[in-house]
């Protein structure tokens, strides 16, 4: 098929990491590419492209979605959180800090998606069981760490967030 020279665009209005954003997109634009290429938010990555690995995880109205298989169009009038939105005033979110403290980061390619998924996990289950952690993170692959330290990081983050009543989930 030949790419049409006349492509209709859609006006998008959304909140990204708390800020209002207005943009013009093609209907077929994927959320991952919109965030990375149009907004310059490169934290979300493309890996498997079939919704299995989780490197493209974005929080859409707080729920994790695969940016590689979600149309940017779906974000209209909704709120998007990316990894870039977690640090407030230079202070790391407790989940980010826990990942560092527990040595749960190696190459870093899965980290953005993993941290965001943990954020949504702890919002639903502030004191998650191991089974709940695994059910949530089953769709976020990591090839480097072997997951043990990620489990530790989740539990540490849960503890910190519970005790400080810290940053809103």
């Amino acid at each position: 098929m030949i790419v049409s020279t006349e492509v209709k665009t859609i006006d998008l209005r959304l909140r990204v990491n708390g800020k209002e954003v207005a943009a013009s997109i093609e209907p077929c634009a994927l959320l991952l590419d919109f965030l990375r290429d149009q907004l310059g938010l490169k934290g979300a990555k493309r890996s498997c492209d079939v919704q299995v690995c989780g490197t493209c995880t974005i929080l859409l109205d707080g729920a994790p979605v695969s940016g590689c298989c979600t149309l940017a169009y779906e974000a209209h009038n909704r709120s998007v959180i990316t990894i870039e939105g977690l640090t407030q005033n230079g202070i790391l979110h407790p989940i980010q800090q826990a990942f560092l403290d527990a040595s749960a980061v190696q190459c870093g390619f899965c980290t953005s998606g993993m941290v965001l998924t943990v954020k949504s996990l702890l919002a639903q289950y502030p004191q998650p069981t191991t089974a709940q952690i695994k059910a949530y993170l089953d769709g976020n692959l990591c090839r480097c760490t072997g997951y043990w330290n990620i489990l530790t990081a989740v539990r540490q983050a849960a503890q910190v967030m519970a005790s400080t009543g810290a940053l809103s989930p």
Binding site: M1, I2, V3, T5, R36, L41, K42, G43, A44, K45, R46, S47, C48, D49, V50, V52, C53, T55, T82, I83, E84, L86, T87, L92, Q96, F99, L100, D101, S103, V105, Q106, C107, G108, F109, C110, T111, S112, V115, I133, K134, L137, D138, G139, N140, L141, C142, R143, C144, T145, G146, Y147, W148, N149, I150, L151
Partner: protein
């Protein structure tokens, strides 16, 4: 001596914050001004002659800047590459040899256009007979995939006299000592078997990504590559440029594991950029990455002879490794597999023959712990079988036969530099070896050696600045293992500086000095030694400068907490610089280097650099009705000489073990006549958090018996290779012999019911 104990402590990763905030840049995050989008058209046939390519419609598409085909590269004097064997064209020109081989490439203004242009390229193929399997490749009447007489050694062949063939043999490695035939004919016990090992995909989560720019006589490449200097050399050779005119810049890698070692997508991207006269980015999708590199699949015949008392006498091995359509690192994998086949035992006789064979499948190359992962489970399962037949405990039989430190592992090679008996006893202890077991539960362990370190050439430069900060220039690639952190620790230790004062930029062949490669568990040992020497060089100059300023002997001066001390006097480094250089400026530059004729602790002239201990233990439960294997416990030992950062060592152990688990239980690339059937993660299962064993224990062993800084040796591969051996042996204890990996439920079920 500095009192700040930086080494041996769990210093947080220096790149941790960047990664956890999404700021760390990988190749796919970089934007080069004017960069075009490149896409590759790949062959859908496993073996075919290219009769004709018509790119005219694609070239006419608005937004397409260039289309590259084989015809374009034929104008180069050198268009064949391959570090071991130059058997690979930059892009296919007369025929395609595997499904996925690049046949054309498009550079366009946007990704949509590039994608659409691919569909406009017309190619006429003429099918050729397919050499799909090892069996096909070995057949007497097999079609030869390469004109062997035309092949040349690669720039980094490194395996003695270059020879290829006969038939489809890419490389043959063999050695022999003693009289195996005689021993086997007389031995009380002979165990023999045929074994199959799968093709496995490394799955570094970041697929290969390259941006290339070709500007008159300068090439710049930003690439997800592990060995920038080897890539530089090959690019310089292909495009006939001086080394200094080729610049390879390496951002953070999203995993490597060998999948980004040596040269992969760089020559193609450079050729496309050259034709487009514009920078171009090519980013593999995962299904493209899976046909760019993989682990060698293998068939093996192995037999072991032993006495009735359980003394191991002789081993004979034949190994056939499927290297795919092009050699890549095949020859080295063959040699390493041959070296690993005997296992770490005393033998009266050995006979090992290993062949790498060409087939019409994607090229196989390096993947973590190659060779040892291929062979350990086989040899170790036979040792277990011998133990059962002679009625000796499986740990004891190993204790009786294992090499001891200082003993010869292979003639002319470095003697054993690890206490294997202690390692195996540690594994047994953590497995609760003698404790009662639940039904259908088995325990197993395995031990092997990997010739680690690759080629020992590394260089480092440390620049101490007038403000008391230091920049470390080195070219080990940060792919998650923590190399920038450990090296910062080495500099911090020598110069008594806080870690935060040390900057470690990424590899850039124009700026950071030569390091041969990042892989083979070599970075701490070799790169680290170079870094340590560079820091020591700065230290020496620093002390000399202070000695001059204070007019005392350098030996009387101490470095502590970022300052110089003598009697009741002290100077910060900035204060010293001011006094010594006469201004708030100047610099002290130190360099350090490691090469094969190095002096000092542990000569590097004798290979291997060190023997990496590949060891693992497992306790598993089998569901006999479905064949499903559940791993209760995995155990490993990190015999690392000295753990410069214990937390990072443990991290390598855990990651390696889970890759080993995947390799052992379910990872397998499935082919049908050269077609890869499972090329997405939907059909190729990579371990997820749900696959974790209930427990994982890794013990640190620090005997300071390595040639690296403070007696360190490398780590990272041993825990992977140990897992298949341990699980196979755990199943063996349950009376379930397995001769084929992975141990899918169906295979285990079939073994139970055969």
């Amino acid at each position: 001596m500095s009192s700040t104990r930086v080494l041996g402590s769990n210093v947080p990763r220096v790149d941790g914050r960047a990664k956890v905030t999404g700021q760390a840049k990988f190749a796919g995050d970089l934007v080069v001004p004017g960069m075009l989008h490149g896409k590759v058209l790949r062959s859908y046939l496993p073996h075919a002659r290219i009769v004709g390519i018509d790119t005219s419609a694609a070239e006419r598409l608005r937004g397409v800047v260039a289309v590259l085909t084989g015809q374009d590269i034929l104008e180069l004097k050198n268009y064949m590459y391959g570090h071991a064997i130059k058997d690979r064209p930059i892009i296919a020109f007369d025929r395609v040899r595997f499904v996925g081989e690049p046949v054309a490439a498009v550079a366009a203004e946007d990704a949509h256009t590039a994608h659409a242009a691919l569909e406009l390229i017309e190619i006429e193929y003429e099918d050729l007979p397919v050499v799909a399997t090892l069996g096909d490749s070995l057949a007497d009447d097999a079609l030869q995939l390469h004109d062997m007489s035309a092949l040349r050694a690669g720039l980094f062949h490194g395996l003695g006299e270059f020879q290829v063939g006969p038939g489809n043999v890419c490389y043959h490695h063999d050695f022999e000592r003693g009289d195996t035939a005689s021993i086997f004919s007389k031995a009380d016990i002979v165990v023999e078997g045929e074994y199959t090992f799968p093709a496995v995909y490394q799955y570094a989560m970041e697929p290969h990504t390259v941006i290339a720019e070709y500007d008159s006589d300068q090439i710049t490449v930003w690439a997800s590559c592990q060995h920038p200097f080897l890539v530089r050399a090959e690019l310089a050779d292909l495009f006939e440029l001086p080394l200094a005119n080729v610049r390879v810049v390496v951002p953070y890698l999203g995993g490597g594991f060998g999948s980004k070692s040596y040269t992969k997508m760089e020559p193609l991207t450079v050729a496309l950029a050259r034709k487009a006269d514009c920078p171009v980015r090519i980013a593999n999708r995962v299904d493209e990455a899976m046909v760019t590199t993989r682990r060698h699949n293998m068939k093996c015949w192995l037999r072991t002879a032993a006495s009735a008392a359980g003394v191991l006498l002789a081993r004979e091995v034949r190994i056939w490794l499927d290297t795919g359509a092009y050699a890549d690192n095949g020859p080295r994998v063959v040699a390493t597999a041959a070296d690993a086949a005997p296992g770490p035992y005393r033998w009266q006789a050995l006979k090992v023959d290993a062949w790498g064979l060409y087939t019409n499948t994607a090229p196989a190359g390096s993947y973590r712990a190659f060779g040892a992962t291929h062979l350990a489970w086989i040899g170790e399962s036979q040792v277990d079988e011998i133990a059962r037949r002679v009625g000796v405990d499986r740990v004891q039989i190993r204790v009786n036969n294992l090499l001891r430190p200082g003993e010869e592992v292979r003639p002319g090679g470095k003697p054993l530099d690890a206490d294997l008996v202690n390692d195996i006893r540690t594994i047994a202890k953590h497995l609760d070896w003698h404790a009662p077991k639940a039904p259908d539960t088995g325990r197993g362990l395995g031990i092997s050696l990997l010739a680690a370190g690759a080629h020992p050439v590394s260089t480092a430069i440390v620049r101490l600045e007038a403000d008391g900060t230091a920049t470390l220039l080195m070219s080990s690639t940060e792919m998650g293992q923590g190399v920038r952190t450990v090296f910062s620790q080495l500099v911090a230790q020598e110069l008594a500086l806080p870690i935060e004062c040390i900057r470690v930029p990424g590899g850039d062949t124009q700026k950071t000095p030569y390091d041969r490669s990042t892989g083979a568990s070599r970075s701490t040992t070799l790169g680290g030694t170079a870094v340590q020497r560079a820091a020591q060089d700065v230290r020496k100059q620093l002390l000399a400068a202070a000695a001059e300023v204070w007019d005392v002997a350098p030996e009387a001066i101490e470095l502590r907490e970022g300052m110089l001390w003598h009697a009741d006097q002290s100077l910060t480094y900035p204060e010293l610089f001011l006094r010594y250089f006469g201004l708030a400026g100047g610099e002290i530059v130190g360099q350090g280097r490691v090469q094969p004729t190095g002096e000092g602790q542990g000569s590097y002239a004798t290979g291997p650099v060190f023997w990496e201990v590949c060891i693992g233990g497992a306790e598993v439960r089998v569901d006999r009705d479905t064949g499903r294997v559940t791993v209760n416990k995995l155990v490993s030992v990190a015999d690392v000489g000295q753990a410069l950062n214990p937390q990072l060592v443990e991290a390598q152990e855990m990651g390696g073990a889970m890759q080993g688990l995947g390799n052992a239980l379910f990872e397998e690339m499935l082919y049908d006549n050269g077609q890869l059937l499972n090329s997405t993660l939907l059909d190729y299962h990579v371990p997820s958090i749900k696959d974790l064993p209930e427990r994982f224990i890794s013990s640190l062993v620090e005997n300071e018996d390595g040639p690296g800084p403070y007696g360190a040796k490398g780590v990272g591969e041993g825990s992977l290779a140990g897992v298949p051996a341990a699980i196979v042996n755990a199943l063996g204890e349950l009376g379930i012999p397995m001769t084929e990996l992975p141990l899918t439920p169906e295979r285990v079920w079939r073994s139970l019911n055969d």
